[in-house]
């Protein structure tokens, strides 16, 4: 067994794995209930249309069909709420209904539902519904949608603008650009991505008429928030009337944060029909009906002095938000994007202007990294563009502009009062360069070019924002978030000394049952196996805002830690009582309470827990049991950082790109379980590299998703990658007592510009300065055709 003081920071095998490697885990699809019915949803084949008439008569008569409904049957159910609107500006909000009633604004919007005894039958009946549409012209490009003459999606959103938001100062930025020695302008696209967790979405709702209560199982990253939104906002019933359970969830990457119409539809159906109803999304449905990510059209202007000092950055972005707004859609391209544009650099003047735009495409919301990958891509490409313009080395220009270690806490001004917590950016870069062998690489590159082989190296020195909080920041000064952002935990030490932790955050692959148990075991000096971590059920766990934005460790686990401190305090009081010592004379170490200097005479935490539970003899005024609930609202966010380096070889004839090396140095603060952090980094890198090279949702001009399946949308496979070379620096955050920053998104945030920078570097002999993602072989080939390639 690992010694108590070493548990935090150890590679402990995951405790959730035995049920996952044996097939015993119960995902939503695996749940069966007596009398369970199955729903199938008819979706609009048109991106923009009026619904004139729906004929359900044939479908309703199909054998095995229980009922068929259209949007009109749920006219009394509120539309989905939009819980995070852009701060301090007007948001022209339009959100989906459980089923659309008279108009659809994207292909895939639900218009009718069949409920049947089994899913094959439900699908059979779906084909018997006839919908009469009046097809309207569509627009899919966010910039074009704002121009005169574009089809208009919503009456309350002139020029299809859902929101127009700025941060930074326009005047000083314009002035600095005017005064700069060089100004580089670039238009760049951050293409739309489809999150694609391996488990699609699903929901089961069961209604008990006698008590008017629901139990709802859903594939959610935030069960407490789902309950709140469904009861208080969509159905107008007391929150206490619903229990929401996230069973084993097969990945989320952001797409399972939101309140989707299908979930509310199941809730409504279970009440209407009086039997439990299940809907499980197919993959093709997932591609058109679950949220997408990114999709920015951006123009940047960056100003610098001749020596490479960056003096100004001006960014104008059209963020495509889809046909209707998803739950927190407006927050992503505003707070989480614009406010992070300074990156790891001291940039005195920044101005960012964002249009959030409606188009006839699927909803766009948070996807792994959510805003920060887009910001990091902008700034890391910008730095390379300036270096190229000035003939500087990309490493040198980064060093020149880095925020130095002694400048922390650092206020990048555009963060609306928040400060970067801690950072040693050059240290991470140096370690990465050492792993690469930069000088010898440049020699190899020069030699290769002589032979007609094109190698390139790309750098990305990133910083991101994790553990988004504090509530007072996100809520009050106008960041627009419609909720607080603290997390909660309850820790109970049972009579037998076994510990049960309940937490309001939710795990869907991150390994909380292990990492949280490590913190408990380490703090209480007990075995990891003596700790059980329960989550994902609103019954029996304290309220929490859920798992996203790498916040479960930086916020949720700190709540656990705080509860443990309070439990230790109480244990000390009781231990002192049991030892007949004065409380101020005892200490808690290695799971034991003893008088300072006399460890031989001690009471173990198990003994103390037993005494607390039996309560035969407690100090005066002490309540029985070791039990504490904490609510942690951090004073600041955390800011992980690092440097990623990618080495590529580009085939000049075909445009094919081979990743030769990938180096990642991340600093996520203190690490609770290095194995879990490495896993998060690997997975993150793959998703970011995939954006650079392969993935991209493509709509045609009529709003049809042409990449509607895994046949066309390229989720990377094992043989697309070399073995990643990873390491860490460790700069603890002063923000929380654990010193942890968050590791869930670093890989995705850092990797995309590293890959694109490498490809541009490889192609620099042809005068290439920029290529838009995904950098596919045909795209490179076409560029080389025009550059004498």
């Amino acid at each position: 067994m690992v010694a108590a003081e070493e548990i935090i920071g150890s590679r402990i095998k995951r405790r959730e794995d035995p049920r996952l490697i044996t097939g015993e885990a119960k995902y939503l699809e695996d749940i069966q209930l007596p009398g369970l019915l199955h729903a199938a949803i008819l979706r609009s084949p048109h991106a923009h249309a009026k619904i004139k008439k729906i004929d359900i008569s044939k479908a309703a008569k199909h054998p095995g069909v229980i009922a068929v409904y259209t949007g009109k049957d749920f006219a009394d159910v509120n539309p989905m709420p939009c819980a995070w609107q852009a701060g301090k500006v007007k948001n022209n909000v339009n959100t989906p209904r459980v089923l659309e009633i008279d108009r659809v604004t994207f292909t895939g919007a639900g218009v009718a539902v069949v409920i049947a005894e089994d899913r094959y039958t439900a699908q059979d009946a779906l084909e018997l519904i006839h919908v009469d549409y009046e097809v309207l012209p569509a627009v899919v490009d966010a910039e074009k949608a704002t121009k005169a003459g574009a089809p208009q999606l919503h009456e309350n959103a002139p020029s299809n603008i859902a929101l127009e938001w700025t941060c930074g100062t326009q005047e000083s930025t314009d002035r600095a650009l005017k005064e700069a020695d060089v100004v580089v302008k670039q238009r760049m696209l951050n293409q739309r991505l489809i999150p694609t967790p391996m488990e699609t979405r699903g929901c089961i709702a069961q209604y008990q008429a006698a008590t008017e209560e629901w139990t709802v199982w859903m594939t959610s990253q935030a069960p407490h928030v789902m309950r709140l939104l469904m009861t208080a906002f969509v159905f107008g019933v007391p929150e206490t009337k619903m229990r929401v359970i996230s069973p084993q969830v097969g990945g989320g990457f952001g797409a399972k944060i939101f309140l989707y119409p299908e979930y509310c539809l199941m809730v409504a159906l279970s009440r209407k029909i009086g039997r439990p109803v299940k809907w499980m999304e197919t993959r093709s449905e997932n591609y058109i009906a679950t949220t997408h990510g990114r999709d920015h059209i951006t123009e940047i202007e960056v100003g610098a002095k001749k020596d490479g000092t960056i003096t100004a950055l001006k960014v104008n972005t059209y963020a495509n938000l889809g046909g209707v707004l998803s739950t927190i859609a407006p927050g992503i391209p505003t707070t989480l994007y614009g406010r992070m544009l300074s990156g790891t650099y001291r940039i005195p003047n920044i101005f960012c202007h964002v249009y959030g735009v409606y188009t006839n495409t699927g909803m766009v919301d948070a996807y792994r990294g959510a805003g920060r990958p887009e910001a990091t891509y902008v700034i890391e490409r910008a730095v390379d563009l300036v270096a190229h313009e000035l003939g500087l080395d990309p490493v040198a220009i980064r060093r020149k502009n880095f925020i130095p270690p002694d400048a922390f806490p650092y206020d990048p001004v555009i963060l609306n009062g928040l400060k970067y917590d801690s950072g040693e950016y050059a240290k991470a870069l140096d370690l990465a360069l050492k792993m690469l062998g930069y000088e010898s690489f440049r020699k190899e590159q020069a030699e290769a070019r002589k032979q007609g082989r094109y190698l390139g190296v790309g750098f990305s020195s990133y910083v991101e924002i994790c553990g988004v909080a504090p509530s007072a920041w996100i809520g009050l000064p106008g960041e627009g978030w419609g909720a607080g952002l603290w997390e909660s935990a309850n820790v109970r030490v049972h009579l037998t000394g076994k510990v049960v932790v309940t937490t309001g955050s939710q795990s869907h692959g991150q390994g909380h049952e292990t990492s949280v148990a490590q913190v408990v075991a380490g703090e209480l000096g007990i075995a990891v196996d003596d700790v059980i971590v329960q989550h994902s059920d609103t019954l029996g766990t304290p309220f929490g805002y859920g798992t996203y934005g790498s916040r479960s460790t930086a916020v949720g686990t700190v709540a656990v830690y705080n509860s443990l401190q309070k439990i230790k305090e109480k244990a000390k009081l009781l231990g002192a009582h049991m030892l007949e010592a004065a409380p101020e004379d005892v200490v808690f170490e290695d799971g034991k309470v003893f008088v300072k200097g006399s460890p031989d005479q001690s009471k173990t935490i198990q003994e103390i827990a037993g005494a607390a539970a039996l309560a035969y003899s407690l100090p005066p005024g002490m309540e029985p049991f070791l039990d504490n609930t904490s609510y942690y609202d951090p004073p600041n966010c955390t800011f992980p950082f690092g440097t990623h380096i990618c080495v590529v070889e580009v085939d000049k004839e075909s445009g094919e790109v081979k990743i030769k090396r990938y180096i990642a140095i991340d600093d996520v603060g203190k690490v609770i379980n290095p194995m879990i952090v490495e896993g998060q980094v690997h997975g993150g890198i793959v998703q970011g590299v995939a954006q650079a090279l392969w993935e991209g949702a493509v709509y045609d001009d009529n709003g049809q998703l042409l990449t509607g399946s895994l046949m066309d949308y390229a989720i990377p496979k094992a043989d697309f990658f070399p073995t990643f070379e990873t390491d860490r620096t460790e700069t603890p955050t002063p923000v929380n007592p654990l010193g942890v920053k968050g590791a869930g998104e670093t890989g995705t945030i850092a990797s995309t510009p590293a890959v694109v920078n490498a490809i541009v570097d490889a192609l620099s002999p042809f005068g290439v300065k920029h290529i838009d993602m995904p950098v596919t072989p045909p795209k490179i080939w076409r560029i080389l055709q025009g550059h004498g390639g």
Binding site: Q123, D124, E127, W694, M711, D712, I715, P777
Partner: protein, 282 residues
């Protein structure tokens, strides 16, 4: 993910299969790896399926004379790992080893694949380059059709309703060199472009050549012009460039899609021809 209803009949003999397969709305089911994906999406709603998957008469890989005879129900995995195929038609073994993924190769059959005639699948290109012949059996009797006459258009073959591929005959390449190389689509792994070459070389010169391209055109296509450019050369860079240009000029009806536009596919046919020749010559 939930196919529509159909009648299912399991054929006990080739004759029975042919008789049942001739009825309107019937489809043959072998490994099912072309058909079932469409069935699951309800993009194909046949009235009946005739399962030929248990017809032992359609199995087996054998050598007769200087030809390989590959039963139509041979799976891609069986072909890819067959010592006989590796010896006499190594490009076919290689192509079958590149179809889909291991699980697909374990179920998907050569006969089903060729009957489906997906332009982006690997085996048709190779069977064409190797001069393969398809043995067909239908209500009108047996016939043998050369691969170049079998593939008519996109997903369109010379098969008559109810007619089955029973076997594929591939002449041994003997001392000739061959290779199949492809640019795989990153999502589907279908060929964006796939090129197969068969080269006879004597005295350092190419004396005979066959070049077939798949993926780029609605059906796998032989290029006489590319072959002609290789014949007589020592397969040096100049000859390869000439052959690539000849191939590019020889292709008509090149397909384009969201991933790879027409001009790119055309250019890649040339690039991959050069790679195929280099791979064949080792």
């Amino acid at each position: 993910m939930y196919p529509s209803n159909f009648d299912y009949q399991r054929a006990a003999s080739v004759a029975e299969a042919i008789q049942k397969g001739a009825s309107d709305g019937a489809k043959f089911l072998a490994g099912g790896h072309s058909l079932l994906p469409a069935l699951k999406l309800r993009l194909n709603e046949p009235e009946s399926l005739v399962d030929i998957g248990r017809l032992d008469a359609l199995r087996g890989i054998s050598i007769s004379g200087s030809s390989l005879k590959i039963g139509a129900l041979s799976t891609h995995a069986q072909i890819a790992s067959s010592a006989d195929v590796k010896k006499h038609a190594p490009a076919l073994a290689s192509a079958c080893g590149q179809v889909g993924d291991p699980a697909v190769r374990n179920r998907g059959t050569l006969g089903g694949n060729l009957a489906h005639a997906d332009p982006a699948s690997d085996p048709p290109t190779v069977v064409l380059a190797l001069g393969g012949k398809l043995h067909l059996q239908g209500s009108g009797g047996n016939r043998v059709v050369a691969a170049e006459d079998f593939f008519l258009d996109l997903f369109t073959t010379d098969l008559h309703p109810g007619e089955l591929i029973t076997a594929v005959e591939i002449p041994s390449i003997g001392q000739a060199k061959s290779a199949y190389v492809k640019m795989a689509h990153p999502a589907s792994r279908y060929a964006v472009v796939g090129v197969c070459v068969v080269l006879e070389v004597s005295g350092g010169k190419c004396s005979q050549a066959r070049v077939a391209v798949g993926g780029a055109t609605p059906k796998a296509t032989l290029s006489a012009a590319a072959a002609k450019a290789l014949v007589g050369s020592s397969l040096d860079d100049a000859a390869l460039n000439a052959a690539a240009n000849a191939l590019i000029g020889d292709l008509s009806d090149v397909m384009g899609d969201v991933y790879a536009p027409e001009d790119y596919r055309r250019a890649m046919a040339g690039v991959y021809l050069k790679r195929a020749v280099r791979a064949a010559m080792g």
